[in-house]
Each structure stands twice: as structure tokens, then as C-alpha cells.
């Protein structure tokens, strides 16, 4: 698995399409309404999957690791939402922390971790 992270609008999807030769239909975008298609070559917006978990009282880290066999050869993409002020709302705090723990776990699992900064890739692992 290759993990791609970065702030919002930093060019992560563009980088994935360029690097892995994927078209938009090869990239599944998580929503807040259900489980992702873990068999897609690339799953993005995992921060929304994390929010889906939090709203159902589940831990994003534990949930995603349960599907490890499905994404172990995939590209996973997630917004980094960790750097702002601690949110006032309890659900947002749980979401932010749950996303952080999920990304730390995915980083351990990943073959490579790449961060996008203004469209430029930075290899972290």
C-alpha cells in the first residue's frame, strides 16, 4: 500500500493519476454515508471514512485495519486535518484524533508515504 497525505486541495489526486496511471473512475471517493469500495485501485478522502466511523461509535484505525487484505496493494489518500485549533465540537475532536491515529497506523503499514505540498511530492517513508 502507498499512502498519500497532505492538506486540502494540494494536488493529491492529480499526483495519484499521474504516478499510478489511474483515471478518475479508478479512484473511489469516500463519503460520509457508507463504507468505501475497498477493491478500487485507489481510495481517497479517508478522512470522511474516519468521520463515518466516529458517527457510529467505531474507531477509524481499528475499522480500516480490519479490511487490510482488501487495500494492501492499493493507493490510499487522506487529507491531513491535524494542524488547526482544537475544535470546539466533541465530534470534530474525536474525528480529528481518530483520523490522526488512523494515519499513523496506515503509515506503519505503508510501503511508501508521500506528502503533497502545493502540488509537490515529499517522500516521508
Amino acid at each position: 500500500m502507498d499512502l498519500i497525505i497532505g492538506g486540502a486541495y494540494q494536488g493529491k489526486s492529480e499526483y495519484v493519476m499521474r504516478t499510478y496511471g489511474l483515471r478518475p473512475d479508478g479512484i473511489f471517493s469516500c463519503g460520509e454515508e457508507g463504507l468505501p469500495d475497498w477493491d478500487a485501485p485507489c481510495v481517497r478522502h479517508l478522512e470522511r471514512f474516519a468521520l463515518w466511523c466516529i458517527r457510529r461509535g467505531k474507531q477509524p484505525e481499528r475499522e480500516i485495519l480490519a479490511y487490510r487484505n482488501r487495500w494492501k496493494n492499493s493507493v490510499l489518500v487522506c487529507d491531513d486535518i491535524s494542524c488547526g485549533v482544537v475544535p470546539m465540537d466533541a465530534e470534530d475532536r474525536a474525528w480529528r484524533e481518530g483520523t490522526g491515529r488512523m494515519l499513523a497506523a496506515l503509515s506503519r503499514e505503508a510501503n511508501t508515504v508521500t506528502r503533497l505540498f502545493c502540488g509537490l511530492p515529499q517522500r516521508l517513508k
Binding site: G7, Y9, Q10, I81, C83, F117, C118, G119, L120, Q122
Partner: protein
């Protein structure tokens, strides 16, 4: 040479940008593109502080809260410190009662034109993309527009660096000495 700097607030972007642009000018003309349009006493104080910090550096201040090239095109060419893309985008998108939906493209064109015009340019922006906020649609449009302007500048700039607690992370090229 063109340089792009970004990062969080109070990480040393402006001071580094001043140093780099002065070095790039090499004694030639050196412009400070002032993008802030003051709205209250706090803004006036901030502008006065920035002016004091620039004293003795040899900058000519060019006011360009909007319409960048209108302010520069009649001047002799030189090195430009543009601080900041963030303020320009806000000024251009939110100058009227409604959001100006043509502003994002116009800002990218203006900044490209400035980079073409300048002998050297250092652009400063702000990294506002890694928090857990839920924003209203206007703010979200602004974040996207600023990110797209940042990315376009990063494609064309010779060097790109991120500032983090005063430390420099170079993402592209080599910063000037």
C-alpha cells in the same frame, strides 16, 4: 529567479522573503508589493510595524491590494517581494457584496504576468489547508482558489520552500544565497 514560500503563521516567511529578494536584487531595483487593504486601527498598526521592519532594506513599496499589473507595468523592471498571495486572493474575491467568481482565474493570470514582468520575484502565501474545520461555501471556495494559485506558482517557480517554526523545508530547486 522566482521563489515561492508558504507555511503556517509566524514561521518566518516574511523575514526570509525579505532576505531572499534583497539578495536576488543584487543592488538593483527592489519592490515590496503591499497587498493589505487596511480596514481598522489594528490593520494600520500591522502595516506600520511591517514598514518599520523593512526600513533600511531598500524596498520601494508598491500598493497593490488589487489589480497587480496596473500598479507595476509602468515601473522600471526589478525584483519584487509579493507578500501575500493570501491577501490578494481575499481582496479580489471579496471586494463586493457577492463573491467574485472570476477572481481566482484573474489572480492566477495577474501573478503569472508579474512573474513574467519581474527580473526576480519572491511570492509569499499561507498554508491554511491542514485543519479540521467545516467551512461555509465562500470560505471553502476561497481555500480552493488560494490552493490552486499556490500550485500554479509552484509549477513555475524555480524554488519552493515551506517554513516551519523558522526552519526551511525546500520542496523544489535551491534557494538563493
Amino acid at each position: 529567479m522566482t521563489v515561492f514560500l508558504s507555511g503556517g503563521a509566524k514561521n518566518g516567511k516574511s523575514m526570509l522573503a525579505q532576505r531572499l529578494s534583497k539578495a536576488l536584487a543584487g543592488g538593483g531595483r527592489l519592490y515590496y508589493a503591499a497587498t493589505m487593504i487596511p480596514h481598522d486601527g489594528e490593520d494600520d498598526a500591522r502595516i506600520a510595524r511591517h514598514r518599520r521592519e523593512r526600513e533600511g532594506w531598500g524596498f520601494e513599496t508598491v500598493e497593490c491590494g488589487r489589480d497587480v499589473m496596473a500598479a507595476f507595468s509602468h515601473l522600471p523592471r526589478g525584483t519584487v517581494l509579493f507578500d501575500s498571495v493570501t491577501a490578494l486572493m481575499a481582496n479580489e474575491m471579496f471586494h463586493g457584496p457577492e463573491i467574485d467568481t472570476e477572481a481566482p482565474l484573474r489572480v492566477r493570470e495577474e501573478l503569472n504576468a508579474l512573474a513574467d514582468w519581474a527580473e526576480n520575484a519572491v511570492f509569499v502565501s499561507d498554508f491554511i489547508y491542514s485543519d479540521a474545520g467545516h467551512y461555509d461555501p465562500w470560505t471553502e471556495q476561497y481555500r480552493r482558489a488560494l490552493a490552486e494559485a499556490d500550485r500554479e506558482l509552484c509549477r513555475r517557480c524555480d524554488a519552493v520552500a515551506e517554513l516551519c517554526a523558522g526552519n526551511i523545508i525546500v520542496h523544489k530547486g535551491v534557494l538563493p544565497e
